[in-house]
């Protein structure tokens, strides 16, 4: 009679977990490759000369890297205009958005007026009316305003400063309401008793305590304003009025010969600000997104 030596259960469980871990990593690598290929390819292409591109040696690697494309763009009046327009628009919209959102969030989370509860929950329902529905009537409205008041609305980049808040304010307000609502009411009361006015309660207590929310909302507003494509395409037609997304794509379509090196460089540089913000403030970025998932 031989005694059966059973494998220790702990060992097989550990082995099972190890396999699960290995498979997880395998798939993560696969997906990382899939997700990162296009931007990396943008980078590779941006370092190629036109000659190397058309030579079609190996698309995935650059053999004779050059910074020529970068130099051209940095000295291109047109491209710099795009960049400047984007920057001005994005920063202005961020400022406007934060002011409107913070005021509204403070009011909706702390004070009451007729309809405030409905407004607080329903504010993000505005996203149910997408920009692709609104751009045509807005076009006509802006033309109308221009005829009526003489203010130049058509084909000017500042029109974007007017419309972009519709894309950013609802969600930013929603984020701020979530953060403000989680501040205990006693804190306001303590501040009021300490002698603060409502404005001081907002600026010296709420904003510092809800700072992660403020940062997340700011990042969101900036990213959306930087990246929007439809409104610029609809409302700006002259090259000097365009922001980056519209500008890069339009100059591409204009030309007959695509200078892919330059196009990729332009696109990569255009994607840089959001990417940099993401790289440095990733946790706030993600916190802003998942505010819905965790705070319900």
């Amino acid at each position: 009679m031989s005694t059966l030596a059973l494998p220790a259960p702990r060992a097989s469980l550990k082995r099972e977990r190890r396999w699960a871990l290995i498979w997880s990593y395998v798939f993560l690598v696969i997906f990382a490759v899939i997700f990162l290929t296009p931007p990396l390819y943008m980078l590779v292409t941006s370092l190629k000369t036109s000659a190397e591109i058309s030579a079609v040696t190996l698309p995935w690697w650059v053999f004779h890297p050059t910074l020529e494309n970068y130099r051209t763009l940095f000295t291109s009046e047109q491209y710099l205009t795009f960049f400047r327009n984007s920057a001005v628009v994005a920063l202005s919209v961020v400022a406007i958005t934060m002011v409107i959102s913070i005021l509204a969030a403070f009011s909706l989370s702390r004070m009451r007026f007729w309809g405030s509860a409905a407004l607080a929950t329903g504010v993000f329902l505005t996203y149910l009316i997408p920009e692709t529905l609104l751009f045509i009537p807005l076009f006509k409205i802006f033309a109308f305003v221009q005829d009526w008041t003489g203010i130049e609305m058509m084909n000017h980049w500042w029109v974007l400063i007017v419309v972009y808040p519709t894309l950013t304010v609802p969600f930013c307000t929603w984020i701020m309401i979530g953060y403000f609502a989680s501040i205990p009411k006693e804190l306001d009361e303590a501040a009021l008793i300490d002698g603060a006015s409502y404005f001081q309660v907002l600026t010296r207590i709420f904003l510092p305590v809800a700072l992660p929310g403020v940062i997340a909302a700011t990042i969101f507003a900036f990213t959306v304003s930087w990246a929007d494509f439809l409104y610029p395409m609809a409302f700006t037609t002259s090259i000097d009025q365009m922001v980056l997304p519209a500008g890069i794509v339009t100059t591409l379509i204009k030309g007959d010969v695509y200078n892919w090196g330059q196009i990729m460089t332009a696109a990569l540089l255009g994607a840089l600000p959001p990417l940099l913000i993401y790289a440095f403030l990733m946790d706030y970025y993600i916190a802003g997104l998942t505010a819905g998932a965790t705070k319900g």
Partner: protein, 311 residues
Amino acid sequence: MANGIATEAAARLPVARRRAARRRFARHKSLIAFLMALPLIALIAALVVYPAFYSLWLAMLNKGMEHFVALGNFTCLFRRDVFGRVVKQSVIFAVSAVIFKALIGFVVAHFVHNIPAKGQRKWRGMLLVPWVIPPAMSTLAWFWLFDPSYSAFNWVLSRIGLHAVPWLGDPLWARFSVILVNVWYGAPFFLIMYLAALKSVPEQLYEAAAIDGASGWQKIWYVTLPMMRNIIAITVLFSLIVTFANFDIVRILTNGGPIDQTHVFATWAFQLGIEGGDLPLGACVSLFMFPILGIAAYFILRDINRRGTEA
């Protein structure tokens, strides 16, 4: 010194005078609250609600916007066969893209959740990149990757002995490519949301299920999915709306082509309305999105309310 012993007689004194004063004070505070929320309300009213209604009116004018043609634009559209194609394409595009985005997001979220916590941040960071890059820019990269002459993908295919694929030239492949890019762009968002939701599922539920004899798959079906039901519903519904109304990707990759096979509502409306100069017709096209958006809105509202009462 008052030694206020309770007397039932001191029950209700006339309070009319003081009530008026209190109401004044309360109304004052309400007014300030309203004023603070006014910019928000004004913004949405003027630039979202009003244009939405205006588009209804606009869609019923003729091209020159001189006279009223009621449903003339609508019937005109029905007669065009492009219209049928646009409806079909928009629906197929939205539904299939969202299904894949949700699936991929869900699956990859599990993988990220499985690895030790320290490494999760790194991987999460890498995997969210497609969503961070402005879609216009990343779509340009895809456009380049799909280029008929220089496609890097075709280069790989030819190296392993397969034919080059007309990514954007052939109608079927074009539709595939458009969906592919949208899934690439949107899946990371689902990944992040589902990862956060996964983390909020209490570990004890899995332990209880394991003791009850559940396998890995059963755990997902009986524990994970029900706990994540709300977040899945919300993300899917919102994504349906956003994908349905998508403009950037189709416009840059195919501009609706080849032969209008990949047009969605947004791009077709743009082509007719802005490029073609027929604003009413464009508005008309955009409006067709509305019924579908309305249905999605109904489901979202219902779900939000249910969530509210559950909490």
